[in-house]
Symmetry: C2
Subunit: 328 residues, 2 copies
């Protein structure tokens, strides 16, 4: 049972993170869970403001996401993008007909003067989502991939070039000046905050754009609650997407240990997959409490279970005061 | 047979005019026919620049128009607008999924700095249309309907309110300052110009926004070729749309004669429907040469035939020099 006044913040990117957030939403009511979402892969395309991670989380929480594709909406059609290609328009970013609605609506509301936070609140409410979904910032942050064929806007690297060009590093344009929104600040400063979760998203392109915002790192460090990350790497491979390829190209071993090292100093706990239980010892040496769980979430019960174990882990760390904040 | 160097300009609105333009395109090659199109019902909606008359003509010439609806594309789906309504977006202007492509592409190209004329050329080429389709101006002209419930942007009156509020008159915002494009000027100034056609579009909301541009009236008056209009009113009713309702509300008799009177001073010839042959005498009294034809175009052969008769009428007026310009 989770105490009424226990509140949690989850920091998330798209697909893998969204699965865990759905599990959290099944464990925690709307007052108890807040989702802080990456905006580094937002972009303007065809005159539309597209927020891929916000959309994936919205569709996932609303139960309308496309499980085959891993992005977009279920029961989707592609008549607009097909017609657009026929008249010479860009079709490298595949926009479904239903999916287009959220981009049109977001763009319209942003143009009317609403902030991305306000727009996201309206959009998630319109999908009957009760939990708070917060873009990490209302300022512009844009992930740039430095690759062997040059520096590319994130979606050009990720979707247009399909992550093929070897990557040398990432920059997050605007991160130094970006401010957390008052809503995100309030979530981290909530006296009832009981734990912070870094979702199993790509650390380098989904979580790092948020950690690159100085006040987010500040909020994590200041907060008097444990921080737990869940590995996106299982058995030396990424559960989904190009995380493993990117790690190889950045000369980082493709292991959960390397992910834990990446977050070292920010997290108190780490969850590795049961396939990687051998790594717990090495991660513990970093001063990070580690537990083993089934982190590969295929079914909804998988997501609910992992989310429950994550909350339980945070409670244990809190009870035992076995976390970084207490040693300082 | 039409001489190689005979060129014609047709001034047109949407549906009815587009049908005649298709007929003209079957009679005249790309060098011989230029279509000058109303932009008074263009509007910005959902962040998109929508040009209903340009689109209707484009789809009609491309053979992809929706014959049941009278607007939009054939084989259309409505998944985006349905999804948009579900999340609180405006759905009073029904945008099909395929149709959305042209609005996205136009908006994107306009934002990139192209003129509406340049955008229209690219769009019509992408639909393999060889004939010149020219917006009458690259300046902003917007039809305003003054109704009993207030002054409304044209699409709000026409589509959202379905022309229900009785109309007292129309204004064409921006018309006084609007310039004809150099392409439109060139078409009217072409030494090989052999005739000008005012298509059977709604005179008050499709043709008048163009005639309200001073330099268009100037070009018509200066040109040394006959001008012929085709009635959109047959047997006291509009062939399509709200023309008859609007005429009643403006206290204008719903007759082809009243349309001829409306154009009086600008046209040399008028084509009435065979149902209205009794009106020819009255129209002739206005100093307008009048012929009778089947103006209701149901099939493609109907369109080709009426267009051929229109061209023949213009040739006869030219040969006989039986037109206004010669009397001056």
């Amino acid at each position: 049972m989770i105490g009424k006044t226990e509140r949690y913040v989850a920091i998330t990117g798209g697909v893998g993170g969204a699965k865990l957030c759905l599990g959290l939403a099944h464990n925690l009511n709307a007052e108890q869970a807040t989702f802080v979402v990456n905006i580094g892969d937002d972009f303007e395309h065809l005159g539309l403001h597209i927020s891929p991670d916000l959309d994936t989380l919205t569709y996932t929480l609303a139960g309308v996401s496309n499980p085959e594709l891993g992005w977009g909406r279920q029961g989707e059609t592609w008549n607009c993008i097909t017609a657009l290609a026929e008249i010479g328009g860009d079709d490298w970013f595949n926009l479904g007909d239903k999916d287009l609605a959220i981009h049109l609506r977001r763009t319209e509301m942003l143009k009317s003067g609403l902030t991305l936070t306000e727009v996201t609140e309206k959009l998630t409410r319109s999908f009957s989502i009760e939990h708070k979904v917060l873009p990490v910032s209302d300022d512009r942050v844009r992930t740039i991939a430095h690759t062997e064929i040059g520096s590319l806007d994130f979606q050009h690297y990720f979707v247009r070039e399909k992550c093929v060009p070897p990557v040398r590093g990432f920059d997050f344009e605007g991160c130094a000046r970006a401010q957390l929104t008052s809503q995100v600040q309030a979530a981290f400063g909530d006296p009832d905050l009981a734990g912070i979760i870094i979702c199993p998203s790509n650390p380098f392109v989904s979580i790092d754009p948020m950690l690159a915002i100085p006040s987010l790192v500040g909020a994590l460090r200041k907060s008097q609650v444990p921080v737990v990350a869940i590995t996106p790497i299982v058995g030396g491979e990424a559960v989904k997407g190009p995380t493993a390829k990117i790690m190889k190209e950045l000369d980082i071993p493709v292991t959960a240990l390397a992910v834990a090292e990446h977050y070292s100093g920010l997290i108190d706990g780490f969850i590795v997959d049961q396939q990687d239980s051998v790594l717990t010892k090495g991660i513990s040496k970093l001063g990070i409490e580690t537990i083993v769980a089934q982190t590969v979430m295929v079914t909804l019960p998988d997501r609910v279970k992992l989310a429950g174990e994550t909350i339980e882990f945070l409670r244990r760390l809190r009870r035992g005061r076995q976390y970084r904040k207490c040693g300082q």
